[in-house]
Assembly symmetry: C2
Homo-oligomer: 386 residues x 2
């Protein structure tokens, strides 16, 4: 991977900027800790006007949920100070808002605001708000600019970068959507101060994933900084978030629309993880990050069975996940139900289950090599009573 | 305009092919009259597999309305004969089906079919079916291939070419959508045999438009062939449809996402036309093509007032439209209501109404030059009792 992304000169003081290189859809991720100097407004205006042939931005709909509506209101004021008339739309927190029906309400709100090509959507919140607001931006008037201000660790290191937006249908998650790159991403790590600890840990599962799939040195850095990150030490959190964004930017820039298979590396832990989430029940005992943590361990064991890695790597991964308070197994789930759920996964080709498995720390490969017996064995291990 | 499109060697015998040059989103429009040799299936398969990195196509949802469901069923059989398992979804005819709610039903149908990246959507019908099915294809799994088989003249010369897809909201038409280029367009002009004559005439309004905005020789050819086209003489219809597709392909290939302003030339007659349609009431006395016909005449008069053309051009345009049985005025409508409707048009910038006006036969220009008085004068003329 030729990671073209880079951490640029700090601006404003103390901030980091990661560039996502995507030709004329390139954009900046700005990472700050506490926006004392009022950087959000100028960043948003510049980002929103840099896209769409430099068209001026005159109005915005700020989409948020009730957990962070105060922050959204401050962002709306900052936009107004930049000459961008902003209104705030508050949706209920939780996955239920990621629906076509909720999207329709926001689209009607944009119509009522007479939003046009000089308007934008600004998402302030976690993954649900980002995916929903992004879908609205991708379809209103065939696409208007989108600014992401993710407030959860998971959204900051994962869902706000890469352009995937969408909503659920009752029978399938994330099935309706688009690739719609944001014009910019504003990450204030101070948002994490009010995040429930469980959600912080869930975000750390994706952080660990980046180390395993792409960057052994980063994996080691996370091992060293785990306690400081969980304690929200700004000096530890900011470089972790920035490196994850750089790593994801590198992948996305080489496979923007998930066509070459390269972007699939991001799915390490997710084949089994998604099955764990689905079988345990959405909103049940496993949040997404927790299911991915257990899935990474099981998939690492699967790589052992292929002879790709030695058990030491899986043990090291498990230790780090436990240190971060994440599960490494899913005792009590039905292995046959997990296999059935994986067989439905949309990334499969020709009926065989496809996995992204480690070849070494920092290197993974997309494969359908695992035999059914090996898959079953690691699922038995995963679901055995502790 | 450097029209890169071309009419290629006939294949199968008697057919015409127009290439839409859009880099890796390029596609063919195949124009036939009566598919005796069973060309649809092979064309569809080849077109659907040429896109998306040559991924094989294994299943398709054929979307149609009850007017042409028999044709859609034949197309589904032809797909099945190519190894593409096809089901037909029938929506009610009419603009009411161009809704998010109807799109949601079709998306759920795709989920039930377990559609994946090896699936496609095939639209068989007029503009409503094409726009709706195209929107579904653009959003399912973040975009799957789309094949268009337009059955109305309007859809054949206009809406099936160019990648604009979308649905309405109660408060705004076409406000939710995407740019999603089809993988291919299959035009069988024999479909026109069963089209209501009024719809045929409406399609001819857009045909005339292409001559005015881009091609004086084509305008003259339409003048000569008008009676033969209305009589559905295949020797007259096919070259007209093909030339319109070539002209639109040329515009779309230079401004795929309506960013440079070039694509705006297609809006000649539409600024006033849309207002006529809206003020008279959708589904009312003016169908879209009829409103555009009256709008073209009024906008041509506006160009006279700017001194851009002499009255002879407008008179010639009016004669041709009357010959085709199309209206050249909108007696009885309220000019103030028309102005109010135009002020809401999303193509305006900074409050002034923008028009695409002729500089000569075959050449138009986007402008906000018309003074309010001139606009009012042409609208008074447009709406005066005959």
């Amino acid at each position: 991977m030729t990671a073209e992304s880079q951490t640029r000169a700090a601006h404003p003081p103390g901030s980091r900027t990661v560039r996502v290189p995507l030709g004329d859809r390139s954009y900046d991720i700005r990472i700050v800790h506490g926006d004392e100097s009022g950087g959000f407004g100028p960043f948003a205006r510049e980002a929103l006007e840099a896209t769409r042939a430099g068209r001026s931005c005159r109005s915005a709909l700020v989409v948020t949920d009730s957990n962070v509506r105060a922050l959204a209101a401050r962002h709306a004021e900052a936009l107004a100070a930049q000459g961008i008339a902003a209104e705030v739309a508050v949706v209920p927190p939780g996955e239920g808002s990621k629906s076509l029906e909720q999207a329709a309400e926001l689209l009607d709100r944009l119509i009522a605001l007479r939003a046009d090509r000089h308007s934008a959507v600004v998402a302030v919140g976690g993954g649900v708000v980002g995916d929903l607001a992004g879908f609205v931006a991708s379809t209103y008037a065939r696409g208007i600019p989108l600014l992401m201000a993710p407030t959860t660790l998971l959204a900051q290191v994962d869902s706000s970068v890469g352009g995937k937006v969408g909503v659920n249908r009752p029978a399938a998650k994330n099935i309706v959507g688009a690739f719609h790159q944001p014009s910019g991403v504003w990450i204030d790590t101070r948002s994490l101060d009010t995040l429930p600890p469980r959600e912080l840990r869930c975000g750390m599962a994706e952080v660990v994933k980046y180390g395993v799939i792409l960057d052994p040195a980063f994996f080691e850095a996370v091992e060293r900084a785990a306690a400081a990150v969980l304690a929200l030490d700004p000096a530890a959190v900011a470089p972790v978030v920035a490196r994850c964004c750089e790593l994801k930017a590198g992948v996305v820039s080489e496979d923007e629309r998930e066509e070459t298979g390269l972007r699939a590396v991001l799915n390490f832990g997710h084949t089994i993880g998604h099955a764990v989430e689905a079988v345990a029940g959405y909103g049940g005992p496993f949040q997404h990050g927790e299911a991915v943590a257990a899935g990474m361990v099981a998939e690492s064991r699967l790589a052992e069975r292929l002879g790709w890695i030695d058990p030491g790597l899986t043990d090291r991964l498990s230790r780090l996940l436990r240190l971060l308070g994440l599960p490494t197994s899913a005792p009590g789930l039905d292995p046959r139900a997990l296999i059935a759920a994986m067989t439905l996964d949309k990334k499969n080709a020709g009926g065989r289950i496809r996995f992204v498995l480690p070849r070494a720390l920092g290197s993974v490969e997309l494969t359908d090599a695992p035999a059914e017996g090996d898959v079953r064995a690691v699922l038995d291990e995963l679901t055995a009573a502790d």
